[in-house]
Amino acid sequence: MSTPLLRVEDLLLYYRAGNHPVHAVDGVSFTIEDRGQAVGIVGESGSGKTSMATALMRMLPKNVESFRGSIQLAGQELTTLSDDQFRREIRWKKIAMVFQGAMNVLNPVVRVGEQIAETLIFDGMEKKTALARADALLERVGLPAGIGSRYAHELSGGQRQRVVIATALVMNPELLILDEPTSALDVSVQAQIMNLLKDLKEDPGISMIFITHDIGLASDLCDSIAVAYAGQHVEFGSADRVLVEPHHPYSSLLLSSLPRLHDPAPPVPMPGEPPDLTHPPAGCRFHPRCPYAFAPCPVIVPPEYRVEDGGHARCFLNDREIAGDRYQIHLQATIDA
């Protein structure tokens, strides 16, 4: 097997907050096999999605208690690089990120073209060449010619988000992390941005990590999907499998809690409330909300059970020996629904 573009293994990130560490990322593993593929990280707020992304960018806050695990980009281990090396070689150059709400923090007094060119000029490029490159990028993200000389406030929301995407692409990164890039946009504009991201996956073949709470939106772009819950990925696998045959009850409950356009049947509300990450539940983190929980769930942390598509699910129901008659009970429930 060839080296995957990105391999994240057993990533762990705890914050200090008062007396208890916050388990923001707690043993997360996933891969992006090829160039131009996208993985969706789907989860509710507080599931550790954004923390995982800032860990990949190594833009960590000061109150980090521990940060461990392995991140390999095209075979290169990133966690052992010095901060200086990471800044010079990786951040923005190989991994770039579109932050949530970035479209609202564009510099209001600098023309958008100059904002993009700034990075290139700082990197040693001549101003004229840099501005031309910025214009080419703005055109690449679907903006009309001449927009580079406008100010952020003159642009619509969708146009500003395109500028932010162009800014992230300026150093030709291999991997682009997008944190809720459409959450402030109307659906019709959201669809335009999603089409742009689809184009960028194909040409120039940028790989993406797409962070969202909307699993439907993730399915619009992503080849594989990780379902995040309380700092862990309870399930990871191909979009073709996770969306159709989830192997974790949280994933299937998430899918059945969404109202469907052309199905008048009422969706099923998700039971319970999200957990407190300073005191995550013992055993399986989802067990207090899980309708299928049984004896081992509150006690033992379920391992990542392999699933046939190469993904994994952290749920004892995937263990024929432990689950017995319960084996695949939730799968059946999904199919019935």
Binding site: S188, D220, P259, M270
Partner: protein, 330 residues
């Protein structure tokens, strides 16, 4: 319950120190909401859906047209004489993080409207607050009543917002994007709660949302707004399954439902974005973005809402040649 007839709302804007402008937030809009009925007001930002919701609560005054509640015209009633209406019509706000005073306990938040209404006995106020907490499933009520908003999740805070509206036993509630700031997995729990309250108490709702799929679940009828006008209205299932107006169709086509086939196809999108209008539109407001526009027709006059099939109305020249005539024109 509520009727709005041919109402227009114009806001004055300040474009600079000397300049001022106007935004036509609503233009010739009519709606009716029956007893125990939910009408979804769907549209994108700037469509006028929130203004229309607030107009039904008489939080804004129309430039023309009328608003009536239970058959009584309240269009120009002064605030002092609207006391009875303020008790019977309530609002649930979009943002449960900023709409609750962080220094007040949940009990105090819910009892505040009763205090304003002059319920003097503290015991009675607490009793009614607890009943409201129980109605929104914040049980045990003593545990949740003594909390501060910051100690609760977004979903729980929104339940407090609903309890605050319920405690006055209203007949009509405007729910202004009540779940848009809550995690997708908790949204349905809140909407089913509203649906349950409606069934048990027969409350009428205006459900303001940009999420057309959730409207299917929690509404009887739907009105799709675009730039201050209603472009299509009808029974919620009919409109979503058989949209007539190109804008409604585009809005529905833009929604990604979980489907592994999605990523292999580009989404059909309408180009551009809506921009606020400073003059009342003289032609179809969707003209510049419409994939099916008829030059010479759609940019020459404004289409009127016309009933195409029972209760299903659309304002589009593809279906009818009728033009909109503003109120007051013979």
């Amino acid at each position: 319950m509520i009727a709005v007839e041919d109402a227009s709302v114009v806001f004055e804007t300040r474009a600079g120190i000397f300049k001022s402008g106007q935004v036509h937030a609503l233009d010739g809009v009519s709606i009716e909401i029956g007893v125990g009925e939910t009408l979804a007001l769907v549209g994108e930002s700037g469509s006028g859906k929130t203004t229309l919701g607030r107009l039904t609560l008489r939080l804004v005054e129309p430039a023309s047209g009328t608003v009536s509640f239970l058959g009584r015209d309240i269009t120009h009633d002064r605030e002092q004489s609207l006391g009875w209406f303020r008790q019977r019509a309530q609002i649930v706000f979009q943002d449960p993080f900023s709409s609750l005073n962080p220094y007040m306990r949940v009990w105090d938040l819910i009892e505040e409207p009763l205090q304003i209404d002059g319920v003097k006995r503290a015991g009675e106020r607490r009793e009614r607050a607890n009943a409201a907490l129980a109605a929104v499933d914040l049980i045990p009520t003593a545990r949740f009543g003594s909390k501060y908003p910051s100690q609760m999740s977004g979903g729980q805070r929104q339940r407090v917002g609903i309890a605050r509206a319920l405690v006055r036993n209203p007949d009509y509630i405007v729910a202004d994007e009540p779940v848009s700031m809550i995690d997708a997995s908790s949204r349905i729990a809140i909407l089913s709660l509203l649906a349950k309250l409606q069934q048990e108490r027969g409350v009428s709702f205006a459900y303001i949302t940009h999420d057309i799929a959730s409207a299917r679940y929690f509404s009887d009828r739907i009105a799709v707004l675009y730039q201050g006008t209603i472009v299509e209205t009808g029974p919620v299932g009919t409109v979503i399954d058989h949209p007539l107006h190109p804008y409604t169709a585009a809005l529905i086509a833009a929604i990604p439902e979980p489907d592994p086939a999605n990523r292999h196809r580009r989404r059909e999108v309408v180009p551009g974005e809506p921009s606020p209008s400073s003059t009342a539109p003289t032609h179809c407001p969707f003209y510049s973005r419409c994939p099916r526009r008829i030059p010479g027709t759609c940019d020459a006059a404004r289409p009127a809402l016309v009933e195409i099939e029972p209760k299903h109305e659309v304002a589009c020249f593809l279906y009818s040649s009728a033009s909109h005539t503003p109120a007051g024109t013979p």
